[in-house]
């Protein structure tokens, strides 16, 4: 029992939809549970542990107290994995950073009570803006099969690698018609694949919920925009939903 890696799951500001993808592995959870020792996972079990071989972190950091909790977890973890887009880039939580003044954000939601101390918030930060991250699993939500593959690789001592080609590649393999041809702006040319092009395959534009590839081919993107009469502004506005900045390798 003790030779199994000690694994823990933590969540910060997020919807907890990524840990749900683990529950959604269904029977595979049973198999996974036999290979690791899950020592801490607040949503699933009662219990804590002093240290972890692998800590999986979901959610983003939006206040000092959470920052300290995260640093403490980092100090007690051999390997720290940032999973889900809130953890990887700040995700939708980063939308509030577009406001010039966070007091206005608080007023929008809590009205006259916005100055109550417990409602305090600071600009949303991804996990690696607070502590060192060893591995990323992007996506909103994460792709459960990719999660399973990455965990298997970790347990086998391999270094997992994320696809570094755009969603368009997987979209083409699925033999979808290009959404640009239907007058729809799609982020597929910039976005990191690994989702199986799930949105375009369901008739909806890619929103780059897994972030951008390491070196997005901006020239090609500009050509596409020109060809279909779209503007860079539209792309910038759209890519902003999941907190992705294509200039940053994340």
């Amino acid at each position: 029992m003790s030779s199994k890696p000690k694994v823990a799951f933590f969540d910060f500001a997020c919807c907890e939809g990524c840990q749900l993808q683990i529950a959604n592995l269904e029977e595979n959870v049973v198999g996974l549970a036999a290979l690791v020792d899950v020592v801490e996972f607040r949503e699933v079990l009662t219990g804590t542990a002093p240290e972890y071989d692998i800590a999986f972190i979901e959610g983003s950091i939006t206040r000092k107290s959470d920052e300290e909790r995260l640093k403490d977890i980092r100090n007690r973890s051999k390997l720290l994995v940032s999973y889900g887009q809130c953890a990887v880039s700040g995700g939708v939580n980063r939308l509030k950073n577009n406001w010039n003044n966070l007091d206005d954000v608080k007023k929008e939601v809590y009205g006259a009570n916005y100055q109550m101390p417990h409602l305090d918030t600071y600009p949303t930060r991804a996990i690696d803006e607070v502590v060192k991250v060893d591995l990323y699993i992007p996506g909103c939500p994460i792709n459960r099969d990719e999660f399973l593959t990455i965990v298997k690789e970790l347990l086998l001592g391999k270094v997992p690698k994320l696809p570094n080609y755009p969603v368009c590649v997987q979209c083409k393999l699925n033999e979808n018609e290009c959404l640009f041809d239907f007058g729809i702006t799609c982020l597929g040319p910039l976005a990191r694949a690994g989702c199986g092009a799930i949105c375009p395959s369901n008739g909806v534009a890619c929103e780059a919920c897994r972030g951008a590839v390491d070196n997005p081919n901006k020239n090609a993107m500009h050509e596409i925009l020109q060809k279909y009469n779209f503007t860079v502004e539209e792309i910038k506005r759209k890519i902003n939903i999941f907190g992705v900045n294509p200039e940053v390798k994340k």
Binding site: C14, C15, L20, N24, V44, K96, V109, N202, I241
Partner: protein, 434 residues
Amino acid sequence: MSKNNINIHVHHVTRIEGHGDIVVDAKEGKIEKVQWQVPEAPRFFEAMVKGRHFSEVATITSRICGICSIGHTLASLKATEAAMDIKISETTRVLRELLMHGESLQSHILHVCYLVVPDLLRVNSVLPLIQSHTDVVLLVTKLHRLANELCDAVGGRTTHPIRARVGRFSMLPDKKQLAEFKTRLVESVDDLKKLADVVKSLAGNIPDFTRETEYLSLTYDKEYAIYDGQCITNDIKKPIPVSEYKGVVNEFVVPQSTAKYGKFNRASFMVGALARYNNNYKQLSPLATTVANMLGLNGVNYNPFMNNIAQVVESVFAVERAIAHIDWLLNHDLELETPEIKPKEGKGAGAVEVPRGVLFHEYEYDSKGLCRKANCVIPTNLNHNNIQLDFEKMVPEFMHLGEKELQFHLEMLVRAYDPCVSCSTHYLDVKLKK
């Protein structure tokens, strides 16, 4: 230390969605403080969607909650459609209801079996049950898988659905696929009956506690309300339209919680499966009613722990309704709709019954279809005040059991409500102090 001194401090109650704390102080038998606290990090969704195009709003507000993302998506779409006066087809409506029932089944099974049953068996999680109750765990994962695969097939993805859009679906399931789901759903009725037997064998461990409160849910003349309806409680005679929801939920900010609280005709109200059951149980199907009676629900019930039993009952109902909706789809021509949607200035509210209770979204749009103002009222928020008042009645009644047992029962009560604190903001932590 006096036996009558109690000091419980549970930081981050486990096996619930999100973070919450309980603080109870009692000195020499005298209760000094009982408090349910919600310190979840607020995320400010109403601010996030401001200025966004109507076609992107549901994508963002779906992220309020991973577990009820289908409900959030649909409440959001309904609000946008109400604001812009957009009508949907019967096919779209049936597909949405099918998604709602898939989500109810998935969420109720997850909550009752993975999070609550460990309490009834006095173990720390579902993980040891994999060894000790393998057959039951595999039965549960089978039902959970079915619910998720159904939502994957209809919504494109079970968590944060892709195909449900403003005024339409972007893609439709094919009939062969639907027919296969029908077969599996019909077969799953037996699995649910087996599960109900397991729950029945454990029902004796459900704490004996009652507190009558106001029960708030939607109600709909045609059926047990899940997707459509108006607001009803046991304290009002005439249903109130969803557009007037603010006068029903009356949200307010409290110092011990980043989630807002609510109340209507009494000091607090309850939402969720038990509230729905209490208000609308006469509209349940015969099989769901049989399961309810078998598990001790025989009409209006004031024990909040019975919320979990109502969830089992609703799981049966969800399967039956899902089968009926698939039958409807199989008997009609399904064609992909591409309605032209023109943005229009306006304001509108939408409500659905998500697993944890009634959920409201409201948006105001400008003439370009950009969101000017948003408001989301989350069922877990609506329950916080009721949990607090249950605590205040429970602590004196259960104090004689000693600190450890009292803490166990308080945590179990919180779980019974199936709170989804991320939804309401994001955090649960229990302190029981002397």
